[in-house]
Subunit: 143 residues, 2 copies
Amino acid sequence: MAANSRLTIAVHILTWLSLAHRRGAEVLTSDQVAASVNTNPVIIRRSLGDLRRAGLVAVRHGAGAGWCLARAPEEIMLLDVYDAVEREPLFGMHHTEPNLECPVGKGIRPALGDVYGRAELALRAELGRTSIADVLRETLLVS
Amino acid sequence: MAANSRLTIAVHILTWLSLAHRRGAEVLTSDQVAASVNTNPVIIRRSLGDLRRAGLVAVRHGAGAGWCLARAPEEIMLLDVYDAVEREPLFGMHHTEPNLECPVGKGIRPALGDVYGRAELALRAELGRTSIADVLRETLLVS
DNA sequence: TCCGGCTGTAATAGAGGCTGTTACAGCAGG
DNA sequence: CCTGCTGTAACAGCCTCTATTACAGCCGGA
């Protein structure tokens, strides 16, 4: 298993919803999305649940049920998707508390916290520059 | 388990080697480093192995064995450490190939590859701005 | 009002990564 | 040669992630 693919799955879902909407489909079911991503519908529903809680998609129940974007694709940035599906910080601290008798053990966690914070900010800034609409445009260039 | 802590462990090691050197210790054994990080010496030796392969530390064998920095701490950037210990890309692609019949399934991987590449570059640029000497300075501010 | 299709989620299994631990061969200074 | 440390294999335990089955809940439409 490489790194986790949650961001990839979520962006794929949103991009597909965006294209389907442009083609006239009001909603897509998790089965229809799963057919494009090529995985199990439950995986898709779990990811859609994250995206719904973040306000990026809306769901319709009952007969004719399915999912659609809750915002224009130009207004959904990859940073929003990242926040919706990623819970863990980029870099983990020590599993066990370092030795506080050692000056390095005592002071390194706040020092690393600063650096890691700056690194995450840089990553987030970059993810904030690309929207689902941008991804869709680039995606369609290939075909 | 949060995210993996390899970068944290490696930076801790290098920072401690840097401080020990300043205090007059020529080399530190993996046991001495492990006492500061508060973990098993084998964990430390594994990390030191990565750092040695990257040319960041040097090892001395035989009696009076141990480890020391191979470069000045001002010249070891966190980006070097990151490259030494992290193998996986930041974001994983689909586990199973997406449906190539679908235009999104067909084109999304290169599109995502571009975005992910830019995001990693931003992260790397930020990690390239901080050195082990910087981390040591911030670490000692606490005590 | 009931039917049927889809959602939402729990439970579970398998694969794989990471930490931590033991064990042991290899190396080299004294 | 002895001794202490390195370097690495092997293994266990824990956790995460993906995948899958199962099923209760919801609601539009017949």
